[in-house]
Subunit: 268 residues, 3 copies
């Protein structure tokens, strides 16, 4: 995010551009991992939505059920991206900077001194960007309550966010390099088909243990008879790193129906 | 709870009174936060249900499906209260003292030396007060197993309850003052409409990320065009604390149907 | 598991034997707790499925939807066992050694120096044994992502697995004795009816707080009027340990329909 002047507020073309980035990354077989970070000179990772923009947005004369929260649209694009996704949180984060720009990612890396806050109840509004779905799912409801129902500012080392971050990094300038090294390992040593189907199983599990057994039986049989599995086995036999080449675009077996959110382009 | 002599056992009029308190607090716009605590002289926060009372209760000759667990009725009244709720656990807690009197609250503050236990499987009975719903939801199933399937006594600092308590407090006499200061901040600086709708989103989320997006889009539009949101924006502009005045009774937009539990008054 | 030579790989008759053990334990009233561990001379708790076996298994010419993952069949047998179950992880664990042989258990004890890994995405396959259902349920999705979507090797003391293990034990040779002492306490001091119904409530909760209230009201009334509850109350009155004698086989009141997974015997 290169809106240092606006402290990476969530406005102008940023939402639309983020959606485009994650939709493109989802489709392009050459993309293995996506990292979102703030340019190093920015005073914050993201200070959230500019309030006057948000108020203008809310007061458009459309029907109550027609409104689509831009943060939620961005969150969905990130959540639905089948590649590994990383938020490299190299600065303070407030509001949508905590929700859409962190929660839908697979992994979050954070600067140890970042100030973090979900301030919604202190602003007379409510949590957005599907955060009431994503946050308890990530951490459980006890910690989600402590974060969403206080609106307080907290540190990455607080026990209240224990488990939210894959890694907490002492120096701000190290956040992106650490995330990049991590991403390089994923890109080099994992199968994109495996990553996509694992995310699919985690996001669309069976409702019961038994239903999940049917789903993952089918997935492991499909993947287990594929080229990447053969290469994985060969690499172990030959004691070398794997070279996974199967494109996701031709090896995708979802078991759920994609949801049409009917997002009207004009709403962003 | 002022039943020091009975070590705040869950009996007599306590269940009925608790239900009345939380149902009243839910409706009264002047109530912002509810704290439950034990009077300081009590030897325990609550030692749970008196066993002979419980046995008498179970053996009433009503049909098996007509029985309504009093702990569960209290738990539901607390869980359904739309105001911020706090359990200030200033002493030992056993059985229903751990379940109905702690789990349905938004926040739990606890004395560091409190002895805590879910003893059900050591008594030949089963966990009640919707604890098998609430505890895994708060902490995940691994910790819920460790607590409910051992019946052991543990300390608030045990890793097995990590995340259950918003704050662990060294001195017993500080538990209530710390909870009160916390409550005062919530009461002064947050919108009761925001708190109620955030609790609603957390308790009644969409089944999928997409469904939640539709729900929270609608909520943030409704709240975002309201008086509290305008006041919140103005307070920031004027660099002062907010004065949220919108009553919840006139600004409530639930998206789920309230459940009729058909609680027969006589059952308590 | 006594396949030290094969480093307890998941093959030959092991899956079938495990299913038999847990199905028998489920039915036999004399069994109170089941512990799975590796014989002390084995170089690992389990290194997972032998890859060539797995590949041969996947490539059988049966229909895609007919395949039943052997790990998932074992996981289901363990998960459905109504007795207390313990994995005593006294060595390294990889793949199905992390999934079927750990996640469906009620409790996991682990050697502090064990190396642990879910390597699926590094092998071109996908997580199996219902691990995409069980792991997020145990720990939340943030930690599940960190484990399943990296395929990395981690230690029991890593914050990424915080909460997965009931106890982490410094010396390898102490893992089984500690688990045995724990099991003995459960076997001696808890009611098997209580354990089974508590597991039932945790695995088959109500969809909402209210539905759970109806379920646990019914269960506590049924158990509360039974012999074990009377014995529990008497033991407290007489200040002695309880002697629970009610057999599970004659005191089982499930509220859900068991799932027919139509497991064809030939598939193992």
């Amino acid at each position: 995010m290169n809106r240092a002047k606006q402290r990476n507020s969530f406005g102008d073309t940023l939402p639309e551009e983020l959606i485009k980035v994650f939709e493109t990354a989802d489709r392009d077989d050459h993309v293995r991992v996506v990292i979102l970070t703030a340019e190093p000179t920015a005073p914050a990772y993201s200070i959230g939505t500019d309030i006057s923009t948000a108020m203008a947005d809310f007061s458009r004369p459309e029907g109550d059920t027609d409104y689509r929260d831009p943060g939620g649209q961005v969150a969905s694009a990130i959540y639905n991206c089948r590649k590994a996704t990383i938020a490299a949180v190299n600065g303070h984060a407030i509001g949508v900077g905590m929700t859409a720009l962190q929660l839908p990612f697979d992994f979050r890396f954070v600067w140890e001194k970042a100030k973090l806050s979900f301030p919604f109840i202190r602003l007379g509004i409510s949590p957005e960007s599907t955060s009431t779905f994503l946050l308890p799912r990530l951490l459980g409801h006890s910690r989600a309550n402590s974060l969403l129902l206080t609106g307080a500012t907290f540190s990455p080392t607080s026990p209240l966010v224990s488990g939210l971050y894959h890694e907490i990094i002492p120096k701000r300038e190290d956040v992106l390099p650490v995330a990049l090294a991590f991403a390089k390992d994923i890109a080099t040593n994992t199968s994109q088909i495996s990553v996509a189907h694992t995310k699919g199983l985690l996001q669309h599990p069976g409702e019961t243990n038994e239903q999940n057994h049917l789903l993952d039986s089918r997935t492991i049989k499909l993947l287990g008879t594929g080229e990447d599995a053969a290469e994985g086995a060969l690499a172990i036999k030959e004691r070398r790193g794997p070279r996974f080449n199967s494109p996701l675009s031709k090896n995708w077996h979802p078991w759920w129906r994609p949801v049409d959110e009917s997002r009207p382009k004009a709403k962003l």
